[in-house]
Symmetry: C2
Subunit: 213 residues, 2 copies
DNA sequence: GTCTATATGGCGATAGAC
DNA sequence: GTCTATCGCCATATAGAC
C-alpha cells in the first residue's frame, strides 16, 4: 500500500494542498495558494487537478485516515474496557497533538458538507469496525455490571469532549492560560491524560465498588 | 441601551447578516447572500455597508454579546462555587441551545482572525469582570480547602469542554446517536446538565470530604 | 435615503503551446 | 507530460440616478 514516497509533482501538490486546506479551510483556500505552496504556477496546477473539488477529494481521505492510526488496534484488544481506557485516551491525545489543525478542519468540514465526512468514515470498514466492537464491549460490560449502566451517548460525549475540545481551542487557551507559550500547553495536554482517564474511570465504575454513603 | 427595535432597513440587514454569517461562516458568505436574506438587491446592500468587512464588524460584537447573557450575573453572586456551579452549567447549556450555530462560528473565527475575538471580549469590562471574579473566587476557595487544589486550567478546560463540545458537534452526534432526531438531542443536552454538574462537583470536592480508601 | 448601472479585480477553468 | 495564455464568471466596490 505504501509506494515508497516518490517525489513526483503530484506528491508535492498533494502535500501542499493538505497543508493549505487544513490551515485555511476549504472556502478560504484558493488554487493559487496551493500552487504557491507547491512552487508552481497558478494555472499549472489545473493540469494535475482540473477542479478545486477534485484536488480536495484527493487529500480528504488521507487526512481522515490520519485521525485513526493505532486507535483501531487498541480498541480491538481483548481487555476489560476500564483497562483499555488509559491507552485509548493516551493514543487519542497524542494523535491530536501530531495533527494540531485537524480537529478544527474536521469540525469546519462537518458544517460545510456533513455527508462528505460520513461517507469517508463509513466507506472503509476498517474505520468503523473498531468503533462498533468497542460499543458492543461497553454495552456487554454494562450488562454484566462491570461498568455503571448509562446510555452510550453519555460515555461517548464525555470522553470525546474531554479529549478533543482542549485540542480544538489550543490557540485561545494557550493565550489565556499559558501567556502564549505553546510548548507549555502541549505539556499540559500530556499531563492531562491521566486526569481525563481518572474522570472517565470514576464515571464508569459501578457504585458498589467505590461509594459508601 | 435597547432602542426599542425599530424596523429600519439597517436592522433588517443586520439581522440577515447575523443569520447568514453564522450559518455559512465568513468566507463562504457572499454579499449577495445577505442581500437576498434581507430582501434587497445585491448591490443595494453596498449603500448601507460599503465593504464586507464593515458589515461583518457591525454584527460581530452583537454575536459575541449573545454568548454571555445572564452568565455574568450568576458568576458575581455571593455563593460558594460548588453551589454556583449547577446554575452556571444550566445557564451555559441553555445559552448554547438558544444559539445553536454560535459555537462553531466562534471556533471558525478564532482560526480565521484570533485577534478579532480577543479584542471583542477584552474591550468590554462587563465581559471580563465576571470571569476575573470567578477566577479569584475559585483560587480563594482552593486556598481555604473548600475546593480541591488544582491548576485553574484543569477546572476551566474540563467545564468548558463538557459544556461546549456536545453543542458543537450537535449535527454528527444527532445523526449517530439519535437517528437524526434533533429534538431528542436537545433533550439530551438538557438531561445532561446535572450529569455535567456532578462530574465537576466530584472533581472539585476535596478528598477528605468524600473519599475513604 | 434608497437603490441601480457599471467598473474592477480575482478566481477557476479551458484550450492549446512547448 | 508539463506548463501558459486566455477566457468567462462571479463577487466586491463605486459613482451616480431617482
Amino acid at each position: 500500500m505504501s509506494t515508497e514516497e516518490v517525489i513526483t509533482m503530484e506528491n508535492r501538490i498533494l502535500e501542499a494542498a493538505k497543508q493549505v486546506f487544513v490551515r485555511k479551510g476549504y472556502e478560504a483556500t484558493k488554487m493559487g495558494d496551493v500552487a504557491a505552496e507547491a512552487g508552481i504556477g497558478r494555472t499549472a496546477l489545473h493540469y494535475y487537478y482540473r477542479t478545486k473539488e477534485m484536488l480536495f477529494d484527493a487529500i480528504f481521505d488521507q487526512l481522515m485516515g490520519d485521525l485513526l492510526p493505532n486507535l483501531g488496534v487498541i480498541m480491538n484488544e481483548d481487555l476489560p474496557f476500564l483497562e483499555k481506557l488509559p491507552r485509548i485516551v493516551e493514543q487519542y491525545v497524542k494523535t491530536l497533538q501530531k495533527n494540531p489543525l485537524l480537529p478544527i478542519f474536521v469540525i469546519s468540514e462537518l458544517q460545510r458538507d456533513p455527508e462528505h465526512i460520513y461517507q469517508s468514515v463509513l466507506k472503509d470498514p476498517a474505520r468503523v469496525e473498531p468503533i462498533i466492537h468497542l460499543r458492543t464491549q461497553i454495552q456487554n460490560e454494562m450488562e454484566k455490571g462491570l461498568l455503571k449502566k448509562m446510555p452510550l451517548i453519555y460515555t461517548a460525549s464525555t470522553l470525546v469532549s474531554l479529549v478533543v475540545f482542549p485540542a480544538l481551542v489550543r490557540k485561545p487557551f494557550t493565550a489565556v492560560f499559558m501567556d502564549g507559550d505553546a510548548e507549555k500547553y502541549e505539556a499540559f495536554l500530556q499531563e492531562r491524560i491521566p486526569f481525563v482517564t481518572d474522570i472517565m474511570i470514576r464515571l464508569l465504575t459501578p457504585d458498589d465498588h467505590i461509594q459508601h454513603k
